[in-house]
Symmetry: none
DNA sequence: AATGAATGAGAATTCATTCAT
DNA sequence: AATGAATGAATTCTCATTCAT
């Protein structure tokens, strides 16, 4: 039964789903292996440890957001509110993608103080997130204000995600995104 | 060898600290017993299981917020912005109390989908939180708007807490609270 | 089924038997637990890890040899060859005790380069061993020679133990001990 | 992609190094493959299992000693002490060759009771070793005594090797060899 | 011949929980 | 009430081995 059943990429994608649903500490390597349709040991062929896998997940998500979400901040052809709309649309799809949830927010809170290795990459993600929003806000607002709006917006969106998760109702998140766009009208 | 060394109350308070710092799944009964200065087995005299303890923690935090935070929404003698100021002051103290962190937010995200027993009490907490803010906002804003502002405010505050935790910088949270008050000026 | 089934001491003694027979790396915690009549997990109540257990074993054997073998070098009432006879008698009993084998020699060779933590205590054992023999030889030989004889004797005895083990014939060891005593006649 | 990268011979030589350094049970097939510059699976082209590889190692070492060490006992042209000198010189080179250590002694002790398949070939090695020394001693000593001296000498040399390894000081081994030669002067 | 993927049986270790004292 | 011992299931990780390409 050998010959390529899974790939690093595939494992990462399955892991994202499970981590999002069950949190980092409550997810077992067996859960992930299961979701990949292989045995536990096989995961270690691709990742030396659960932590290494998680770091790959964080980097993957970060890169994905750079390429698909944050990038809309740079789209030269569009106006500020259109950029934000695109960015928000994309984020919505991702957060409520296959399994829902905001993996870097969740894992960030859960592990920031416990697994120091995760701290920096997670911070990087949010730093980039803020930069993207700041870039857009700068088209309409002066520098300091753009920065504050960016921080505020991320807070609101992340908090809304939390509520959506707790109440099982994505409306909180959708409304937060709507308000985000309205700030540019 | 009897002689009461600890109490339910004491265990709950120690548990809050540890759960906040280490998340629910990464906290062991031994961690909690340690913090209480007793052995693991002793905790089971007061709580039949880790889940039962956690539920007591949730209820305790909820009650504490009712009595010390949300209550400021009802203070008949003060104006809306003063009420909010008091409420926010109190919340700030709690979130950055002994060990910092927002236990119901963290645990909510971490356990909402995994431990159904926690879901309802955590929702209750946030429902009451929203009601308190809504009550205050109603003094200045029409009904629907007050409600939306409450949700928005909680989102922002909770998201800011997340950022504070991830970046190890409480400024995010402080700023969010300031903006909350400004909405009433 | 609680209430003291085993003790640190007991585990150490069982572990000695197994390590002697199966070597360090080929012995599992389950082997040791089995020999103790408890479950794997229970061993961790007494020793945090296999390495820690092994270090306790090394120290225990070292202390035992100090108290029961090397001590004969100091017996003021006896002549050199009598002291050596007593020392050798005792060593013979130990090496061919319950399960036979020379645990510190075996483990020393097996782990000296792999588990640095074991190196020093094992060296200490052999250093004390040499000192004891040297003390006895000094009664009949000048300093430098006594020292060389001590080293030579230990080499011979340890090598003979190895042959005894490989050939399953304790005669090698017995003969080596006999020659040791003859050096003092 | 065929093109022979390694050979049985090469694997055996690499395996000797690793087994000497890390002991049998603590050496993985991956360690050996690594040292050979191939992947784990490739080793199985040449040896069906780790045990089979180890047996080949034992036989290889044995043969090598026959051809390069023990053979000096038969050199008709030399006197006893010269023969011994040559034999000892050769052994010294081998034991302190590339990686040092006395593989058959180490593995003998480690596996004698655990892997019966290794017992006989290891015994054979030491039997031949004894015969070689006995042959030399017979030129100077009567039969029984030559035999005892052979056993004694091997014990001493093997024990000295153990000390050299434990203390990281080859002097023990060198001194033992010197004494061996002196017995023929 | 060599690869690289996958297996599956364990290995060490952790941990919530139980219970006699 | 508190202890400390024991449990046993679960968890991470390892490793010899197999096998299609």
């Amino acid at each position: 039964m050998p010959t390529q059943k899974i790939s690093r990429e595939f494992i990462i994608n399955q892991a994202i789903k499970i981590f999002k649903r069950k949190s980092y500490h409550n997810t077992t390597m067996a859960d992930i292996a299961d979701a990949c349709g292989v045995l536990k040991g096989s995961i270690y062929h691709y990742f030396q440890s659960k932590e290494v896998l998680m770091k790959a997940v964080i980097e993957h998500v970060h890169q994905y957001f750079k390429d698909n979400v944050f990038i809309h901040a740079q789209n030269g052809k569009l106006g500020a509110s259109q950029k934000m709309e695109q960015l928000v649309d994309m984020a919505e799809n991702l957060f409520f993608g296959p399994e829902g949830g905001d993996i870097l927010g969740n894992v960030g809170i859960e592990t920031a103080h416990v697994i120091p290795e995760f701290r920096e990459p997670i911070r990087q993600f949010f730093t980039d997130y803020m930069s993207a929003l700041e870039t857009i806000f700068k088209e309409k607002y002066p520098g300091e204000m753009a920065k504050e709006l960016a921080v505020q917006s991320i807070s609101e969106v992340e908090g809304a995600l939390m509520l959506s998760r707790i109440f099982g109702d994505r409306q909180y998140f959708i409304d937060a995104n709507r308000r985000l766009i309205e700030k540019l009208n």
